[in-house]
Symmetry: C2
C-alpha cells in the first residue's frame, strides 16, 4: 500500500543511497517500486513463501530498503539482524527467527563466513552487491537483473507479520518482536502527523539510525507516505560523509544517536561551514546533550527533537515537539522542556505511569511511576513465547520509571530495577547520579539501593574520582544539599572503582550485589 | 480514543462555539471530554443502547460536537440529518435510519413540529438549548446537568458503526452510508498528514462546512488528533459573523462551499480589513472560482486548497496541496494546477479511472475515465441494502468522469451520465459548457448527448442568451473553434430557455429527453 502510493503519487521523488565501495546510487520511488518487484520475483524463485523468515545483515542502503518491501510484500517476514551484536547473539537471533535466507553487505562477509557453521537453517546466502563476492555466493544484482515486469502481489490479512526485530538483550537473550503490516502502516501514519515527524513532500529525510534497528524509527515508511526525498547514508556516519550528503542532497531532517551529532558539529566547526538546508535533527537512544541542542539551535537554527521509543513500540513512543502552551512560556523555557523531556503524548500510543500496586499516579511532572504503553503498534507477545508481554488490557510495562507533566510530556527518570524505593516514595538513581557527577573531582557517580530496616531501601552513592582529585564524603554531601530534597540524601558515600559493562555502562548488577546489605550487615 | 487523547495531550486547548440566540461559548478539550461523559450518561438514562440510531438536526455548535462523541462513544450510531433537505427527505432519512431519539437546534423547532406526525419511531425529542422550549420537550442542558463524574465507556470492535450520513439524493431517495470507528480514526490520521490538512498544535480550525454533511470533512476528529483549537461558527456564515471569529479567535484554517467565501471576500473589501491570521481556505463541494483564489492569494496571502470527496468517502478523497514537482514549475504554474484540479492522491485512498470495459486508462492528464475509489474509508454497502455498492475488490464507482495526471492530480471532467461518448472517445459536457458560457451574450450553456447513427453520440449545445443579446450559431461555433479540438464541435447549437432543477442546477434529465433524437429524428 505504501509502495504503491509512493509510485503513483511521488514516482519521480528521489532516493539517494551510499553503498559499500560503490558509487552513489540515485533513483526515485518509481524505480524503487520496479526493483522491489524484481527482488520479490527473485525471492519467489529462491523459494521464499508467505510466513517464511528472511534475514538481512546490512546497512542503510537502497538495496536494504528494496529487501524491506520485497520480503514483506510477499507475506514473508524480514528479520533485520544487528551487525553490532556479538557473533553469538547474531547467530542466536537468526536461528531463533528460523530464517532460511541471509542477505548481507559486502563488508559483513567476514562475519557471515564466521557465522556459517552456526547457521544450519540458512540455505541461501546472498551478498547485497553488484558483482558476486565468490563462486559460492549469490549476488543481489545478478538475481534481480534476471527478473523483469510487474508482479501480482499476494493478498493477506493486515495482522500478518512483516518484520521481526530483536531487542538488544543487555540481560539475557535478545527477544523477538513481530511488527504486523497493520502496525507498520498505522505507525507510519501516526509518525507523519505534525506532532511527530510531520514531513511535507518538500522534506529530504536522511535516517542515520540503522535500518536494522527497529526499522530506523519507521522512516523508510513515513518518508514515502509523505512523499519526502530519502537519503540513505550507508554505513558512513563520520562528519565529512554526512556533511556531503546533507549539503549536496538538501537534507532537511535527519536523526540518530547523539555520538554522530557530536562528531558532525565538531566537523562543522572545523571546516567553518553551515549544515546546508538542515532544519531538524531527531535524537533518540539516549538523552539529548544540552550543549549539542544549543549549538544546533544557536549556530545553525536547527531544531533538536528528542524522541523515545523501544523495539517493542515499532518504535515510536513520544517526541518532544512544540505546542502553543509551551510557546506561551517563551522560547527559552520551551526549549528547556523540549530538551529535558523524552517527548509528548502522540496520537495512537497511550501512556500511563503506575505505582507498585499498579494504580495510575498523577500527571504532575513530579510523581514517578512505572511507565506503561498501549496501542496498535505496541507488542502483545514476544516471538515464540507462550505468554503475553502485555497485560489483558494491552498495557506493556517498559521497564522504565517516568514522570508525565500536565501537558502530556514524559520524562524517564530511571529504570524500574534501578529506582530506589524509600518508605513508599521513589528516588531516581539517574537523577542522583547526574547531580553527583557535577561535583568537582568526580569522574563517575553510581547510585544503588541498599536494604534498610525502616525505609525498605535507601540510596548508596559510589564515586570514582578523577586521578589526583581529593574529594571527601562531606564535600559531596555539601554539593548535593542545595540540589536535592533532604530525603534523597544518600545514606552513605563510598569511594571506589566503578565496574562497567562491555558496552561501557555502569554495571549496576555488580554494584547492587556488592552494596545490597551495606546498611544492614554487621560492620 | 480521539477524545481521550485530546483530553490528555491537549486538555487546555480551546474550543469556541457560536450558538443559536445564546452568547459565545468557550471551553477546552478537557471540558469537552467532561461534558461528553455527562451527555453519554444522559443518553444511557434515556435508554440508548449500542447499535441504536440517534438523529441530530443541528448546526456547527459545541453541543452538536458533544453529541458526536457521546452517541458514538456509547456504541450507538449518530445520524446527522440535513436541515437543508425537504421535509419529506428529512423524515425519510430519520425513518430509514430507524432513530428513536432526535436532538435539534432551537431554530429548527418548527421543522421538528411539522415532522413529528411523520416520525412514529422517534420517542424522545431533545432541544439543544440551555432552557426547555416547552413543557413537552426535554432540554439538553437540563439532561446533562443532572449527570456528573466519569463514565466507564463500553468496549466494542473497531468495525462498529459510528455515523450514518445520507447522500443528498438528487435522483431517487437519499442513500445511507455508515462510517465505522475504524474509518473515522484512519480518515482523521490520513487527513492530519501534510498532504491533506496537516494541522499543527498551533492551528486554529473553523469548519464552515456543516457538521451534518459527512462530518464536515472530518474536522471534528482531525483537529483534536492534531491538538488544534476548534472554532464552531453555529449557523452564521455571513461575512461579518465569520470575520469576527476569524480575527478574534486567530483562525488559521477554514473551509466550506465557494458561496461563503464570495460573501466573505466582498465583506473584507467593504470594511477594508485583513482576515486576521488566516493562512488557508479549503473549498469543497464545487470547483474553486479562479478569481476567488486569486483574491485570497494576492490580497491576503491566503492559500486556497481545492478538495474533493463524497459522503461515500467519509468524505476525504483528494486535496490540491503543493509538491516540489509543482513548485519547480514556478509559482504561477503551480497555482494553476492547484486551482484547476480537484486534488492529488492521498495516502489511504486509491484512485483509478477506467474505460467502458472497466480497464484502467492512462494517467496522462488528458484521457478521461470513470473515477473509482478504494480504501479503508470508502463505502462497501449502503445502509439497509442487500448488495454491495463497491465491487469485489473494493472499488466504488463515484459516478464521475475524471482525468489523472502523471503527478497523481485528479480533475473531474463530467458526471458519468452526462459525458458524451462519441466514436469510443469521451467529450466532457462540463468543459464544453464552460467554454460556451464565455461567449459574449450567453447566459447559460448546456450540453447533452444526442444519438448519432455513426458516432453513437454527439454533443448538442443549448444556449439561453442574456435578455436583448443577439447571438448566432455561427458566432458560438466561431468562438469555440480555437478553444476545442475539432471533433468536440457540437453537431447543433439550439437557442432555447434552459430548464433548472429545484436547487438551481441545469436539468439535464429534461434536456436529454428533449434532444435525445435530435440528430436522428425525421425533420
Amino acid at each position: 500500500m505504501i509502495l504503491r502510493y509512493a509510485r503513483q503519487a511521488h514516482g519521480d521523488r528521489e532516493i539517494v543511497s551510499r553503498l559499500i565501495d560503490e558509487p552513489l546510487w540515485r533513483y526515485n520511488y518509481a524505480g524503487l517500486a520496479d526493483r522491489v518487484e524484481q527482488a520479490a520475483k527473485a525471492l519467489l524463485r529462491l523459494g521464499v513463501k508467505p510466513g517464511d523468515r528472511v534475514t538481512t545483515l546490512a546497512w542503510n542502503t537502497h538495496r536494504h530498503l528494496e529487501v524491506f518491501y520485497a520480503v514483506t510484500g510477499l507475506g514473508a517476514v524480514l528479520h533485520t539482524a544487528n551487525p553490532r551484536l556479538s557473533d553469538e547473539q547474531i547467530a542466536y537471533t537468526i536461528n531463533h527467527a528460523g530464517s532460511g535466507v541471509l542477505l548481507y553487505d559486502r563488508n559483513l562477509a567476514a562475519v557471515v563466513e564466521r557465522l556459517k557453521p552456526q547457521l544450519p537453517q540458512v540455505g541461501i546466502f546472498v551478498s547485497l552487491t553488484a558483482q558476486p563476492l565468490d563462486d559460492a555466493t549469490l549476488c543481489y544484482e545478478d538475481l534481480i537483473g534476471a527478473e523483469s515486469g510487474p508482479l501480482e502481489w499476494p493478498v493477506f490479512g493486515e495482522n500478518a507479520a512483516a518484520f521481526l526485530c530483536y531487542t538488544s538483550g543487555t540481560t539475557g537473550d535478545p527477544k523477538g518482536v513481530l511488527y504486523s503490516h497493520r502496525a507498520i502502516v498505522l505507525h507510519a501514519m501516526g509518525a507523519g502527523l505534525n506532532a511527530a515527524f510531520g514531513f511535507t513532500a518538500f522534506d529530504v529525510v536522511m535516517p542515520c539510525s540503522s535500518l536494522y534497528h527497529a526499522t530506523a524509527w519507521g522512516l523508510p515508511f513515513v518518508a514515502p507516505v509523505c512523499g519526502a526525498k530519502l537519503v540513505l547514508p550507508g554505513d558512513k556516519m563520520d562528519g565529512a560523509s554526512l556533511h556531503r550528503l546533507i549539503v549536496d542532497e538538501g537534507v532537511t531532517f535527519t536523526g540518530g544517536v547523539p555520538t554522530i551529532w557530536t562528531m558532525y558539529l565538531a566537523y562543522l566547526d572545523q571546516i567553518g561551514e553551515r549544515p546546508g538546508n538542515l532544519k531538524r535533527v531527531m535524537i533518540g537512544g539516549s538523552a539529548v546533550p544540552r550543549a549539542m541542542a544549543a549549538s544546533f539551535k544557536q549556530k545553525y537554527e536547527v531544531e533538536t527533537l528528542q524522541i523515545w521509543g523501544m523495539t517493542e513500540t515499532t518504535p515510536l513512543g513520544v517526541i518532544a515537539s512544540p505546542t502553543p502552551q509551551l510557546a506561551a512560556l517563551g522560547e527559552e523555557e520551551m526549549q528547556e522542556v523540549i530538551w529535558s523531556r523524552q517527548g509528548r503524548l502522540q496520537f495512537g500510543i497511550e501512556l500511563r505511569i503506575v505505582d507498585e500496586g499498579g494504580s495510575p499516579v498523577a500527571w504532575d511532572g513530579g510523581t514517578p511511576g512505572a511507565l506503561q504503553v498501549r496501542g496498535p503498534w505496541v507488542v502483545q507477545r514476544y516471538f515464540r513465547q507462550d505468554k503475553d508481554a502485555a497485560d489483558a488490557e494491552g498495557w506493556f510495562d517498559t521497564g522504565d520509571v517516568a514522570t508525565i507533566d500536565k501537558r502530556g510530556f514524559m520524562r524517564i527518570t530511571d529504570r524500574t530495577k534501578d529506582v530506589i524505593k524509600s518508605g513508599g516514595e521513589w528516588i531516581s538513581s539517574i537523577d542522583l547520579e547526574n547531580f553527583a557527577a557535577g561535583c568537582p573531582g568526580v569522574k563517575i557517580a553510581a547510585v544503588v539501593a541498599a536494604h534498610h530496616p525502616k525505609w525498605e531501601e535507601r540510596p548508596i552513592l559510589i564515586i570514582e574520582t578523577h586521578d589526583g582529585a581529593t574529594v571527601s564524603k562531606a564535600d559531596v554531601l555539601a554539593y548535593l544539599e542545595p540540589k536535592i530534597v533532604k530525603w534523597w540524601t544518600p545514606d552513605d558515600v563510598i569511594f571506589a572503582s566503578i565496574p562497567l559493562t562491555a558496552t561501557g555502562k555502569i554495571d549496576k548488577k555488580v554494584l547492587r550485589r556488592t552494596y545490597r546489605d551495606h546498611l544492614t550487615a554487621p560492620s
